[in-house]
Symmetry: C2
Subunit: 217 residues, 2 copies
């Protein structure tokens, strides 16, 4: 099994999951409940992510409580109000965007980085590697969820310290991701911000250099 | 297509790719060459990752030049020598570990975060979201590569500024990941650091809390 060679057909499944994954907000979650089994499968993908020095520095809070979700949504509202003034002429468009699905999603999962108290192999020159490992876990969750036909939305317009206080998180832990998880009415043909022309897709070739940077930059 | 429902069989493919992905070092890369087409498929997975505010803040340098790889390996050697003294009684074990495959892998890919000069939607409260988006791209690459039966190793024992100087990277960009990419003799049954008993696997249930933190921490 360890040396399993994936077939072209299997490669195409991965490719499709990657291409059809979307960031889901409250306008697309349905109230269909998400079973414990599905949440376990998503978390199992998370803990199978690579981690620096095999530190596995991740911890998760699975939230179904309506009051807690509502309190987190309040934290979002405060931060989002502050944020929108930063977008000048785009401010009115910004105000119309639905940027989270905290209360609409039946499940929220907060993902934390728990720093080690001792040096970690591989993290001695690049200290962010611990957090980066947790992000790898999040991306595994997102893809596994899409394969399970479950949508995920990452909410980042949050004050991490307020979220930690709400969830009684130990001081040393850092919030990496706050995910809204649930079934959806549709996944969307393209990223919503591309459809709404907030930003254009960048051409792949414009992002790639060979051997050294050249031209660009 | 947008609303494609993946079958159980397809879900199991994703699960296998996630479970069978490994971090590959120089003791497992073969010298079989990696085609441009395969590199393009891996990069295509990268640019299909989620990104905060659809900022797509990633840039890539694909390195095949032996001299450049050798110079990067020198940067690793300096950092690794500094690192090993931090592991006290484990120092002698550390010294025996093969922690990179820079020269052995036919292709290296350096992945950078290019910060935006304007505020980015979703990045106003959590400034690391740009880097985190790039890490999502890296994890997509890693999984796509595994599905293509290609190994990836993430080398983090590097001085990012020296790497940037070697690759003529614009000042504003940040090194997120330095990846070694190539075919392998084997993928390993478990993470190498687990096999070598450098660290134990953590139990999934010990990492998960419900609604709020409790007990642990």
């Amino acid at each position: 099994m360890k040396n399993k060679q994936f077939s072209q057909e299997e490669q195409s499944v991965i490719e499709q999951v990657i291409q059809l994954r979307r960031d889901i907000r409250g306008n697309h979650f349905t109230d269909q409940s998400v079973s414990e089994k599905v949440i376990e499968q998503i978390l199992s993908a998370a803990v199978s992510a690579p981690s620096v020095g095999y530190s596995q520095p991740w911890e998760f809070v699975v939230i179904r409580d309506r009051q807690i979700k509502s309190n987190i949504a309040d934290i979002f509202a405060i931060e989002n109000e502050k944020a929108k003034h930063q977008f000048d002429q785009k401010e009115s468009i910004y105000g119309q965007l639905k940027l989270e699905g905290i209360c609409e999603a039946p499940v929220n999962i907060a993902v934390f980085y728990k720093p080690d108290t001792l040096p970690v192999l591989g993290q001695t020159s690049m200290s962010s590697m611990g957090e980066y490992s947790v992000v790898c876990a999040v991306q595994n969750m997102w893809l596994m969820a899409r394969a399970l036909n479950v949508g995920v939305g990452w909410v980042s317009i949050l004050d991490p310290e307020r979220v930690k206080a709400e969830l009684a998180v130990p001081k040393a832990n850092q919030l990496v991701a706050y995910l809204c998880v649930g079934y959806v009415d549709e996944f969307g043909t393209k990223p919503e911000l591309e459809i709404l022309k907030w930003a254009d897709r960048k051409e792949q070739h414009s992002l790639v250099h060979y051997d050294r940077y050249s031209g660009l930059g």
